[in-house]
């Protein structure tokens, strides 16, 4: 098209342009592949069952039946599932931030005998597979009444109360904060706890946000421990557990439109968080990957 460029073919520039074109094609192509399943899920949630198996982009007829079913006729109600998920995820997020920050601060800044050994012990728990804990934790919890009634919620929260990676992530961040700031506060007469609360924690907000996001995502999406502790009582199910049970139990198994509407409901909160706090998702994962 552009003659002047065609006539003066700098081999390097041409190669670079070609590479660039290929790179963009790959980038956009893969982004499309990534979006198709989600787009198809949303489209399907507005279709009728016979229409849901057709290869059409526009629902014909367009219907809110599936949404009506998902919102009003699931057993247990989607509202119950949503609330269970939200409360469990909120509590686990709070405990991870709180306990992760306090322990992370102690490991980063305070000097006490056995500190490094205890920190190693925390890191060692990262090597113990989560599900290996199933039998002992279940027996321990059933011994103290945490496998029935309200105790079931407590059990799910206790298993996720604070993860080694929350402590690790916050500790690493605290280490990057200049010590001078704390010393200044100390000279002004502030104690360890006040210094932590007033000086250090506000400076560590990016790390706090990353830990909060990762904990929320993990507990909102979690399936294993809810399946272990909450399965026996329908009214305690979380969204992922409910979705799995609907999938497995006859009724909704292949009634795609309402199932897809439920998938959308279960995923929207995370997507909203992702849109607003994308940076913290990405940085949190990257930070947990850069060890040592």
């Amino acid at each position: 098209m552009n003659e002047s460029i065609d006539r003066a073919p700098l081999p390097g520039a041409r190669g670079r342009r070609l590479r660039r074109g290929v790179a963009y094609a790959l980038l956009i192509g893969y982004a499309v592949i990534t979006c198709i399943p989600f787009g198809w899920t949303i489209i399907t949630s507005f279709k009728t069952l016979p229409d849901s198996t057709q290869l059409t982009l526009v629902p014909d007829p367009f219907t809110l039946e599936a949404w009506d079913f998902a919102l009003n006729h699931l057993q247990p109600s989607v509202v119950v599932l949503f609330l269970n998920s939200a409360v469990i995820a909120a509590v686990i997020t709070l405990t991870n931030v709180l306990l992760g920050a306090t322990a992370g601060y102690a490991f980063a800044r305070l000097r006490f005998p056995g500190r490094d050994l205890l920190f190693l012990a925390v890191l060692a728990t990262l090597m113990i597979p989560d599900q290996l804990r199933l039998v002992p934790v279940y027996i321990l919890f059933s011994g103290v009444g945490l496998t029935a009634g309200f105790g079931q919620y407590v059990a799910v929260v206790l298993v996720g109360i604070v993860s080694a990676s929350s402590i690790f992530l916050l500790r690493q961040y605290f280490l990057t904060i200049p010590v001078d700031l704390e010393e200044a506060a100390r000279i002004d007469g502030a104690g360890f706890i006040t210094t932590f609360w007033r000086v250090i924690l506000p400076l560590a907000m990016p790390a706090v946000a990353a830990v909060a996001i990762l904990s929320f995502q993990g507990s909102w999406n979690g399936l294993f421990w809810p399946a272990v502790f909450l399965s026996s009582d329908q009214s305690h199910w979380t969204l992922p557990l409910g979705l799995t049970q609907f999938r497995l139990a006859g009724g909704l198994a292949t009634n795609w439109p309402p199932l897809m509407a439920t998938v959308v409901i279960a995923t929207v909160p995370i997507i909203v968080l992702y849109v607003f706090f994308q940076r913290y998702f990405v940085e949190g994962v990257a930070a947990s990957g850069v060890k040592g």
């Binding site: 990534t34 005998p113 113990i128 599900q131 402590i167 979705l243």
Partner: protein
Amino acid sequence: MAQAALKRGRIDARAEALAGYGLIAIPMVFFLALSIGTFVYAAYISVWDWNIRSGPEAFVGLHNFQKLLSDPVFIAAIGNTLYYTVIWVPLTMAAGLFLAVIVNQKIRGQTFFRAAYYFPAIASSAAITTIWIFLASPDGLFNGIRGAIGLNPLFALFGYAPDHNWIGNYRTALQSVILLNAWTTSGTFMLFYLASLQSISREVYEAAAIDGANAWQAFWHVTFPLLRPAHFFVATVGVIGGLQLWDQAFIAGGPNGDPANSLMTIVLYLYNALFIQIDPGYAAAVGMVLFAIIFSATLLQRRIFGGGPA
């Protein structure tokens, strides 16, 4: 005066240590009780005939382990889990590295693409697996598209009918789960790799360019070897995660890993031993075998990669 300062210093140090212990007390109790402690407890339970209500009934030594290794379903579970891990980890590492490299180019919209590729990893396994089952169902999107673009004769060569049920058929169930998880997790691996890629200095590439290396050679001879710590980390995380496959197998195949145990995994077997056979001693033995496998796999990787970051 000096003595007073010394004394104050000592009190300060004591207060500091007390504050330190106070701040780590709650997490440490949970780590000791629910993580490190449970490991010892699981080992103990595994050598007993254990009643889920009343506790230990009879010491059985290694009987639970013998019973375990003579159950063909458990052997199938080990086979499936190893097969899954051996295929899924390299596949997802390659995909994650590939995405990281193209996203790391000097391109416009880098942040957007990075966010888009990580996107599948943020949804719950329950949601994403349900979507996948729908897409791979006999009259789902995948079969529809391959029919529409005329690929069916190609698939017929491999013996797949136009309405093949990818997750519902024992021949393709595990492969479908591998693809699903490669797709969702490649975004996470991409982020791990990106962090390391960005730490490689420009000068290294300039030196390679002066030596006449093209982009392809620079990647294989410069980038790839320099990423060794990242390879080690991603592979370790991947293998530990892969050997614990449970979510997708349970969602797609239920507690038995249907069809025909093709989705039976070690952790699914562990779950069944506790909740269906209600045999905690036996289930604990499964857990110990899983730990032994994960532990040896990690050691093996350490050898392969010649040790990673501490």
